[in-house]
């Protein structure tokens, strides 16, 4: 299980189940001891899984269950507004959780492109969020090869960029 990559769609679900089984009890115990409920534990654990997934190289982490439990613990302490001690402050986790430059994306615009540009958004998500190689992208979206996948990627970038351009004329989309 540990040798499979979390970015492979076919194994992603198995990896999440594996992480729930191994790490969620630790998170739940910690949240329960510090006054939280099951929903709190589920929330912070979900966010911890997302942070693991978004890490530059998740496969470099040897012990993913401990990593996820550590992040969830940190998130819970933050959520519960408790001061954490230096020992609990995993510097790696801290740097990942802070994204001061990330702008709030307009939910309205997101809803719009999710419908108007669904296919392109799925393809671009494969490239920029799931970090698939062009070969994997070609296989997933059934393109003839890597060159075709690359060309389609740029076409989609242009399409969504154009949608944003048009919608930016409607200022409400950007200043909700």
């Amino acid at each position: 299980m540990e040798t499979e990559t979390i970015r492979q769609v076919q194994t992603r679900e198995e990896q999440f189940i594996f992480l729930y089984e191994r790490a969620f009890p630790k998170t739940a115990a910690f949240v329960s001891r510090s006054g939280g409920n099951l929903e709190d534990a589920k929330d912070v654990f979900q966010d911890a899984l997302i942070l693991l997934y978004e890490k530059e190289d998740p496969e470099s982490i040897q012990d993913k269950p401990s990593y996820v439990a550590g992040i969830a613990r940190h998130l819970w302490l933050k959520k519960a507004g408790k001061k954490r001690s230096q020992a609990e402050a995993a510097s790696e986790a801290q740097s990942e959780l802070l994204e001061p430059n990330e702008r709030q994306v307009s939910k309205r615009l997101l809803r719009y492109v999710a419908v108007a540009g669904k296919k392109c958004m799925e393809l671009l998500t494969g490239v920029y969020y799931d970090k698939l190689s062009m070969k994997e992208l070609a296989s997933k979206f059934e393109f003839s090869g890597e060159r075709s996948a690359t060309a389609q990627k740029y076409k989609c970038l242009e399409k969504i960029r154009e949608v944003i351009k048009q919608r930016s004329l409607n200022k409400e989309d950007f200043y909700e």
């Binding site: 189940i17 009890p25 099951l38 899984l49 994306v105 492109v113």
Partner: protein, 85 residues
């Protein structure tokens, strides 16, 4: 498409220093390029938000599966015990 590739290279920080300087200069004088650059940056942010949304849905489905399917009964009991007060 060249414009899109160029902007991607610029925004990703992978551009050679000399080309970057040239691009900085072009952005100062070329309004259209500047607008495209801003919107392309927003595209990446939007894609990240969309990807996160899809992943969250996927994780929620896994969570619901674990907390509802009989196969994980002992796991569920173990967790529920933690919250019994």
């Amino acid at each position: 498409m060249n414009n899109t590739v160029l902007i991607e290279s610029y925004l990703s920080g992978k551009m050679e220093p000399g080309d970057r300087l040239l691009m900085d200069a072009r952005l100062l004088i070329d309004h259209g390029l500047r607008v495209n650059c801003e919107h392309q940056q927003q595209t990446y942010e939007l894609v990240k938000a969309y990807g996160r949304l899809c992943l969250k849905r996927e994780i929620t489905a896994v969570q619901e599966h674990i907390f509802s399917v009989g196969k994980h009964e002992s796991f569920r009991q173990k967790i529920n015990k933690l919250f019994k007060r």
